[in-house]
C-alpha cells in the first residue's frame, strides 16, 4: 500500500500526474467482446515492432550480388542478392532467427485481419457516426498503411514470389495516366528492376516511415477514444449520456494484458510451428523467371483478383496510351473502394440514418437494416473480386475451367451484391420482428398454461 503511495507522490510532485493517473485508473470501459478487436490489432502491431527490430538488425537492404556460403546446402555457390542472402541466413544461421521471421510475418497477416474485422464491427454497429468521424477516418488510413507496410515488408527479401509482385507494382505505377512513367521511374530509380536505391527506399519506408506514421495514428486513435469515451451497446441503464462498464483498474487492465499475452502467444506459436514464406524454397528473383500460382499476401488478394478479372481494355488517345490496363484493377478499383470507405460516415448521415445527432449508443446490426444490408453488399462485391484472385487454384483443385471461372466472377461481381443486399435486409427485418438473438436463441416472454388451468407469463 505505501509502496504505491510513494510512487504516486513521486510522480505527482514532479509532473502533477496525480489527477491524470486517477483519470486513467477510473476510466470506464464498456464491456463487449467485440470491443476487443481493435486491441488484437494493437497488440499484433506491438509484436510486429518487437520482432521487426530484431530482424532489422540482421537484414541487409542491398541488391548487390554475392555468392551464398551459408548452411542451406541447395543454395551453396549460387549467386544471389545480399538481401536474399541475409534473409536465408536469418532463417538458417541466426539463433531464433526463423522464429522471429515467421512470427513477424504471421503478425502482419493477423494485424490486417484484425483491423478488417474491427472495421466490419465499426461499420455494422454505426460506431463511425458523430462525434467519431475523425477517428474513423484515421482508422481507414491505418488500414491502407498496414496493407502498404505488409507489401513492402515481404518484398524486401528479393525472393521469386515477392519479386514478381514488385514487377506488377511497377507496372501498376506506370499505368497511372500521364504521370505514371516519371513517377514509377523516379520511385524505382530507373526502369524495372531499377537500381539498388529502390531496395533501400523500400527498407526505410518499411522500417521507419510507415511504422512511425502508424504509431502516431494509433496514439491519436487511442487518445480520441479516451477523450470521447467508448461507445456502448444499448441495454439496462445504458443511455447516450452515460458510460456503463468496468473501470480500467484492476479488472480491465488485467484482461487487456491477458489479451496481449494471448495475441503474443498465438503469434509466437504460429511462428514456431507453421511455416510461412519459406524464401529458401522459392529461390532468388530474376526478371526472366516466373512461377505458376504466384500470389500476394492475403490482404492484397482483392487486387490480384481485380487485375485478373478486368477485360483487356486500354484507352489510347493520339497514339499515346492514356490508360493502360493495370490501372483499372490496380489503381481505380482500390481507390474507389477506399473513397467509399472514407465517405461512409457522410453517406450514412445523408442517405441512411438521415440524422446528424451525435450517437454514443451503438446499433445492433439488425437495428439498421439498410445500413447493414448496404455494407454487406459492398463487402460481398470485394469478396467476389478476392475470390477471383485464386480462380487458378479453383481450376487446379476442382476442375472449373479458368476462363469460365473468370466470366463467372465477372457476373457474380454484379449479381452477388444485389442478392446479398436483399437477403441481409430480409434477415435483419425478420430478426428485429422476432426478437431472436442470432446466436443464443430467443429472449422474451412465454405464455404458458399452468397445471391448474390458468396462464402464467415466463420471462426468458
Amino acid at each position: 500500500m505505501s509502496g504505491s503511495e510513494d510512487v504516486m507522490r513521486f510522480l505527482d510532485e514532479r509532473l502533477g500526474a496525480g489527477r491524470a493517473v486517477r483519470f486513467v485508473l477510473d476510466y470506464v470501459f464498456p464491456d463487449h467482446w467485440s470491443f476487443l478487436l481493435g486491441e488484437i490489432a494493437l497488440y499484433s502491431f506491438v509484436v510486429l515492432v518487437a520482432t521487426g527490430t530484431f530482424l532489422a538488425l540482421f537484414f541487409t537492404p542491398d541488391t548487390a550480388p554475392l555468392i551464398y556460403h551459408g548452411s542451406y546446402a541447395p543454395l551453396r555457390g549460387a549467386q544471389i542478392s545480399a538481401a536474399y542472402d541475409s534473409t536465408v541466413r536469418l532463417s538458417y544461421d541466426v539463433k531464433g532467427g526463423l522464429l522471429m521471421r515467421q512470427t513477424h510475418h504471421w503478425a502482419a497477416l493477423v494485424f490486417v485481419a484484425a483491423v478488417t474485422v474491427h472495421l466490419l464491427r465499426i461499420i455494422f454497429t454505426g460506431a463511425f457516426r458523430k462525434p467519431r468521424e475523425i477517428n474513423y477516418v484515421i482508422g481507414v488510413t491505418m488500414l491502407a498503411l498496414a496493407m502498404l507496410e505488409g507489401f513492402a515488408g515481404y518484398s524486401l527479401p528479393d525472393d521469386l514470389l515477392s519479386g514478381m509482385g514488385l514487377a506488377i507494382a511497377w507496372s501498376v505505377a506506370m499505368s497511372i495516366p500521364l504521370v505514371g512513367g516519371p513517377f514509377a521511374t523516379a520511385l524505382w530509380g530507373g526502369r524495372f528492376p531499377g537500381t539498388s536505391v529502390f531496395e533501400s527506399r523500400l527498407f526505410i519506408a518499411h522500417v521507419f516511415v510507415i511504422p512511425v506514421l502508424l504509431a502516431a495514428l494509433i496514439t491519436i486513435h487511442l487518445a480520441m477514444i479516451m477523450i470521447q469515451r467508448h461507445t456502448q451497446f444499448p441495454g439496462s441503464g445504458r443511455r447516450e449520456d452515460n458510460v456503463v462498464g468496468t473501470p480500467l483498474w484492476p479488472s480491465y487492465a488485467l484482461r487487456s494484458l491477458g489479451l496481449f499475452a494471448s495475441v503474443a502467444a498465438v503469434l509466437v506459436a504460429m511462428g514456431g510451428l507453421v511455416q510461412i514464406n519459406p524464401v529458401w524454397l522459392w529461390g532468388p528473383y530474376h526478371l526472366y523467371v516466373g512461377t505458376n500460382g504466384a500470389q500476394p499476401d492475403w490482404y492484397l488478394g482483392w487486387l490480384i483478383g481485380a487485375l485478373r478479372m478486368m477485360p483487356n481494355l486500354e484507352i489510347h488517345v493520339f497514339g499515346h496510351t492514356l490508360v493502360p490496363n493495370p490501372f483499372f484493377g490496380g489503381v481505380l478499383f482500390p481507390s474507389v473502394v477506399f473513397m467509399v470507405l472514407y465517405a461512409v460516415p457522410w453517406i450514412d448521415r445523408r442517405f441512411i440514418s438521415r440524422e446528424a445527432a451525435p450517437h454514443h449508443l451503438l446499433d445492433r446490426p439488425r437495428d439498421n437494416p439498410l445500413r447493414t444490408a448496404l455494407a454487406a453488399a459492398g463487402f460481398s462485391a470485394v469478396a467476389v473480386v478476392f475470390a477471383a484472385g485464386s480462380a487458378d487454384r479453383l481450376f487446379f483443385q476442382f476442375g472449373f475451367g479458368y476462363e469460365g471461372a473468370i466470366w463467372f466472377f465477372r457476373g457474380a461481381f454484379l449479381v452477388a451484391p444485389v442478392v446479398v443486399f436483399v437477403l441481409t435486409r430480409m434477415i435483419c427485418v425478420e430478426l428485429r420482428r422476432s426478437g431472436r438473438h442470432p446466436l443464443r436463441g430467443w429472449s422474451g416472454s412465454v405464455l404458458a398454461r399452468t397445471r391448474r388451468g390458468g396462464f402464467q407469463t415466463i420471462d426468458r
Binding site: 454505426g126 521469386l160 451497446f233 489479451l259 507453421v274 500460382g293
Partner: protein, 271 residues
Amino acid sequence: MRRRLIGLAALVCGTFALVSLAGGEGGSAAPRATGTPSPGGLAAARTLQEGQALFASSCAACHGLGAEGIKRRGPSLRGVGAAAADFYLQTGRMPLPSPGAQPLRTRPAFPQRQIAALVSYVASFGGPPVPTVAPARGSLSRGHDLFALDCAGCHTIQGQGGIVTGGIVPSLNVVTARQVAEAIRVGPYVMPRFGPAEVSDADIDSIARYVQSTQHPQDRGGWGIGRIGPITEGMVAWLLGMAALLLVARLLGERVEDEPHEPRPPQGRAS
C-alpha cells in the same frame, strides 16, 4: 518340340507382316530406334503378341489397329517410342475416360506385365526408348536453375502444380525420376518437348534430382501447409490465428446481457 518353335516363329513373323500391311500409308515412317532392344527370344515375342492383343482391345478404338491414329479421336503412335508409352501407361493417363479429355494421373489401368507388353508393342513402331536417368549424378543447384527457368512457370517452383489456359498442370509430388525424364522428352498433352540440345541428359539428371528434393522439402519452419505460398498462409492466418484470437476475445469480454430488450425504433429510413 522343334516343329512347335518353328510354327510359333512363323506365327510371329506372319503377325508382323499383317500388321505392317494393315498399317496403311506405307507403314511406319519413322525408322526403328536403335536403342530399343530388338525382340529376341520366345518371351519377347510373346510379350509383343500380348501387347498387340491388348492394344487391339484397349487402345485401337482411338489410336487405330495399326496405331496410325483416328482423326478427332487419338493421334498416331508411330514414332512416339517406348518413352511415351511407358510414361502414359505407368501414370495411368492412358486409357483416357473419353477422347478429348485431359490425360490426368490416376492408378495405372494395367498391371506391370501388361504395361511392359504394350510398351514393347508401341516401341515396335519406332521412337525414343525409355530413358535412363541417374538423379544422384545431377547437381541440385543446376537442377534448381533449370527448373526455375523451364518448368516453374507451369509446375510452380516447388512442383506443386498449377494451371495453364487450356489445362491443368499436375503436381510433381509422386513422380519418379524416370517419369520426369520421359515427360521432358515426350512433352505430354500441352507440355513442351525439350530436345537434347535444349535440355541435355545430364541436365535431366539434375532436374530429376531437384524434383526429388521438392518431394523431401526442408520445411524448417514447421508445418509446410502445401508450399504453395500466400493462399494457404492466408487461410491459416484467418482459420487458425484469427479464430483462436476471436475465441479468446469472446472468453475475456463481456457480452450484452440477456434481459428482455424492446426493439429500438428504426433509425432513419432503416426499413
